[in-house]
Symmetry: C2
Subunit: 413 residues, 2 copies
C-alpha cells in the first residue's frame, strides 16, 4: 500500500526491549504483497500461558475459530501471523488452511498443533494457500531471535501507514517485568475488537485464566473504545502471551486476578493497550484528525459509551471535522439518534475545549473564529455534557476524508 505515512503518526517510536522467552522472525512469503515481509513467527519458551479476545462477528475468520479452540489448552509455543489474506469466509478450505499452517508451524517449532496460534489479515473471501508456509516457517523457526518487535509490527501491516508498537515496564513483587505490544489496523475498525490484530508479550509469570481476565478488563476502555468506520472485522484478534521468564528474577507466580501484587501490571497493560489503540485511530484510513470524544452527564457509563460511539461513527460528524467545521448541530443529531436518554434542553457541547452550545442552544459567548482556529489542530477534543447523571465515557476516532473513500474504493480488503 503505497500511501504516505499518516500525519497523525507518533513522532517517536519507543525502543522495544527483548522479552525473555519470546523469539521473533519475519519473512516475505509473497502471499499478496511484493517486496515486503508478510509473515511473522513468534516462538515461545515452554510454559508460556495464552489469552485472547476476538471479534464478536457472527461470521468470524477461520484463524479466529482456530484460536478460540486453542485457548482451552491455555498454553502456547508459537504464533504465526500473515498479512495480505485474512482467510475469512473461505469455508472448508479456510479450516483446512489453518490446520495445515498449524501443522507446518508445529513441526518447525517442535511442539503440538494445539500450542500454535494463528492470525491472518488482508483480503476476505480469497483462499489462503497454506503450502506457501512450507519451508518458510522452518527457516523462520531456526532464525528466530529475541527482539525485533518493530520488524514484527511491520510484517503484519496491510493498509497501515506506520508500524504500531508500545512497551511498558513495571514491578511484579520485587522483580521488574516488561510488556510489549504490537498492532495493526487502519480500516474496518470498530468494537469489539477495535483492532484487526494485536499481540502482547510479557515475561510476567501469570496463569492463563488470570491473563484472560486482565485482557478482557483492559480492552473495555482501550481497543473497544476506538472506532474508525464502525465496521467490525471478521478477524479482530488480540492475543496475550506470558512466558513467565521473570520468575527467575524473583517475580511471583500470579494465579488469582484479585492478587494485589497485580496493581502495577494491570496499569501497565492498560497503558500498552491504550497506546496501541490510539495508534490505530491515528492511522485510520485517510485520517487527518484524531478525535477524542468525551461524553459526561449521561445516566450511566454504558449510556455514555453508546452516545460517544454514535457521535464517533456518524459520517456527518466525521466529514464536518474533516472540513475543520465545529458543526455542533450534527453532534446534536448524533446524540439524538443514539436512542439513549438525552434532553435537548440540557445539552452542552465543546469543541477543542471551547463551549459552543449550552442548555439546548448556541452558547451566547460562542466565538466562531476561536473555534475555527481550534479545529485546525490535528487532535480535536469533542465533549458533550448531557446534564442528566454521572455517567462518563471516552472514545477515540478519526475524521472521514476523501482519502478514506479512495483507499476503500480501490483496495479489495
Amino acid at each position: 500500500m503505497a500511501t504516505s505515512v499518516s500525519p497523525l503518526a507518533p513522532q517517536t517510536v519507543p525502543d522495544m526491549p527483548e522479552i525473555t522467552g519470546v523469539k521473533l522472525a519475519t519473512a516475505a512469503a509473497g502471499i499478496r504483497y511484493a517486496n515486503r515481509t508478510d509473515v511473522l513467527l513468534a516462538v515461545f519458551d515452554k510454559g508460556t500461558s495464552a489469552a485472547g479476545v476476538f471479534t464478536r462477528s457472527k461470521c468470524p475468520s477461520a484463524p479466529v475459530e482456530w484460536c478460540r479452540a486453542r485457548l482451552k489448552g491455555k498454553t502456547a509455543r508459537a504464533l504465526v501471523v500473515n498479512s495480505g489474506n485474512a482467510n475469512a469466509f473461505t469455508g472448508k478450505t479456510g479450516r483446512a488452511s489453518t490446520k495445515l499452517t498449524a501443522q507446518i508451524a508445529a513441526k518447525a517449532v517442535g511442539c503440538g498443533v494445539n500450542d500454535i496460534y494463528l492470525a491472518s489479515t488482508g483480503v476476505i473471501g480469497e483462499p489462503l494457500d497454506a503450502t506457501k508456509f512450507n519451508g518458510v516457517l522452518d527457516t523462520l523457526a531456526s532464525h528466530a531471535v529475541p527482539g525485533g518487535f518493530l520488524n514484527a509490527a511491520k510484517a503484519i501491516m496491510t493498509t497501515d501507514t506506520f508500524p504500531k508498537v508500545a512497551t511498558a515496564r513495571t514491578s511484579l513483587g520485587k522483580a521488574k517485568v516488561t510488556i510489549n505490544g504490537i498492532a495493526k489496523g487502519a480500516g474496518m475498525i470498530a468494537p469489539d475488537m477495535a483492532t484487526m490484530l494485536s499481540f502482547v508479550f510479557t515475561d510476567a509469570p501469570i496463569t492463563a485464566p488470570v491473563l484472560q481476565k486482565l485482557l478482557k478488563e483492559s480492552v473495555v476502555d482501550t481497543f473497544n473504545a476506538v472506532t474508525v468506520d464502525g465496521d467490525t472485522s471478521t478477524s479482530d484478534t488480540l492475543l496475550a502471551f506470558a512466558t513467565g521468564a521473570a520468575a527467575k528474577n524473583g517475580a511471583p507466580k500470579i494465579t488469582r486476578a484479585s492478587d494485589p501484587r497485580l496493581k502495577g501490571f494491570r496499569k501497565a497493560l492498560g497503558m500498552v493497550l491504550a497506546d496501541l489503540a490510539e495508534q490505530v485511530a491515528r492511522d485510520g484510513e485517510g485520517a487527518r484528525k484524531l478525535v477524542e470524544i468525551t461524553v459526561e452527564g449521561a445516566v450511566s457509563k454504558a449510556s455514555a459509551r453508546k452516545i460517544a460511539m454514535s457521535i464517533a461513527n456518524s459520517p456527518l460528524v466525521k466529514t464536518a471535522i474533516a472540513g475543520e467545521d465545529a458543526n455542533w448541530g450534527r453532534v446534536v443529531m448524533a446524540v439524538g439518534k443514539a436512542g439513549e436518554p438525552a434532553n435537548r434542553d440540557k445539552l452542552s457541547i465543546w469543541f477543542g475545549g471551547i463551549r459552543v452550545a449550552h442548555r439546548g442552544a448556541r452558547d451566547p459567548a460562542y466565538d466562531e473564529a476561536r473555534v475555527s482556529a481550534a479545529m485546525k489542530n490535528p487532535k480535536i477534543p469533542l465533549k458533550v455534557n448531557l446534564g442528566l447523571g454521572r455517567g462518563r465515557d471516552r472514545v477515540l476516532t478519526c475524521d472521514l476524508t476523501k482519502e478514506y473513500v479512495a483507499i476503500n474504493g480501490d483496495y479489495r480488503s
Copy 2:
C-alpha cells in the same frame, strides 16, 4: 447548493394533477439561500384531516415538537415549510419561533394556530428569524392556487439536486381519488424517518385516525427502508393531509382502517411513498449508484431488516460499490457485525444477479469479469441469502463517494 443533478435522477417527472382543497404558493424569503424559493405555504379547505410520522431522535427540532402537539387536533388548515434553517437545537428561541410562524400563518389564512403545521430543514443550531415570514405568508395566502406541486418540491430543497414528486390515482368506492406527494432529503437520511421532509396530499375523505394508521403502515417498507448515511435527522417529518373533497364526487367517508374499500388507496399510498423514498436514495449526497439490498433466508423479517441495514450503512460496502468492486467479503463482514443469527457456512451472496459466494465460500462458478461488468450499472442489486429461515426484507441505499465527503465537509447542514 450549486451541485449538478444526480446521475440517478428519474428520467421523467410526472405531471402533478391538482388536489381539490389544496392550494399552494412559494416565495423567496431569503432565509439562507439567495435567488431561489425557500418558503412553501399550503392552504387546505376546512375539514381537512392530518396525520404525521416523525423522527425518533431524542433531540427533535422545534417544528417536530410543534406538529406532534398539533396532531391531537386532527385537523389542518395550512402547512408552512421553509428550507435553509432547520430550527433545530435552538432552545426557547426555537419554540418561540415556531409559535410566531404559526401565528403569522394563522392570521394570513384566517384560522386558529392549532390548525397550522410547520416544517423546517437546513442548518441545525442557528436561530430561525420568524419575523422574516411577516408579510411573506400574507402574500402567499392571497396568491395560493391549486396545483404547483413541482414548485412546492423545489422550494423545500436543501442539498437535493432535483425536486421529488410522485402521484397516484385510485378508486375509493365509485369515485376517483388522487394522492400527490413531495419530498426533500439527500443526506442525514436514515430510519426512522428516512427522509427529512415529505408531504402527502389527497382529496380522499379519510378521518385523521385512519390516515394516521395508513401512514404508519406505509412508511415501514418505504421511507423507513431507505438509508443514505445512517444519520437520523432531528427534523424528519412526514405529514399527510386529506381534504375530503372527493366526497362531492361520491367517495365514501372512511372512518375505519379495516374498511375493505381502502384496498386501492392503501396500495396507491404505498406506491407514492415508495416512489418518493427511492428518489431520496437516488439523490443521496454524492451518490453515483442506487443499491437495492435484499436479504432472504433470515430468521424473521425484523432480522432481515437489521442485516440489510448493517450492509446498507457499512462505509466499506458503500465505498466498494463506489469503486465498482463486487467486494462480497465486506458484505460478509457487514452480515457478521449485525448481531443477528447468521451462519457463515450457509451464506450466499449475489451482485447484479450473479452469485459470487455460496455456502460460506467463493462461488466456484464465479466469473469476476461478468460481475465487474454488472457493477458498472447505475443500479446495483445486492442479495444475501442466509439459509436459515423465511425472513425477507429489502432496503435501498446509495454508494459512498468522495463527493459525499466534499458536500459534507463544506456545507454546514
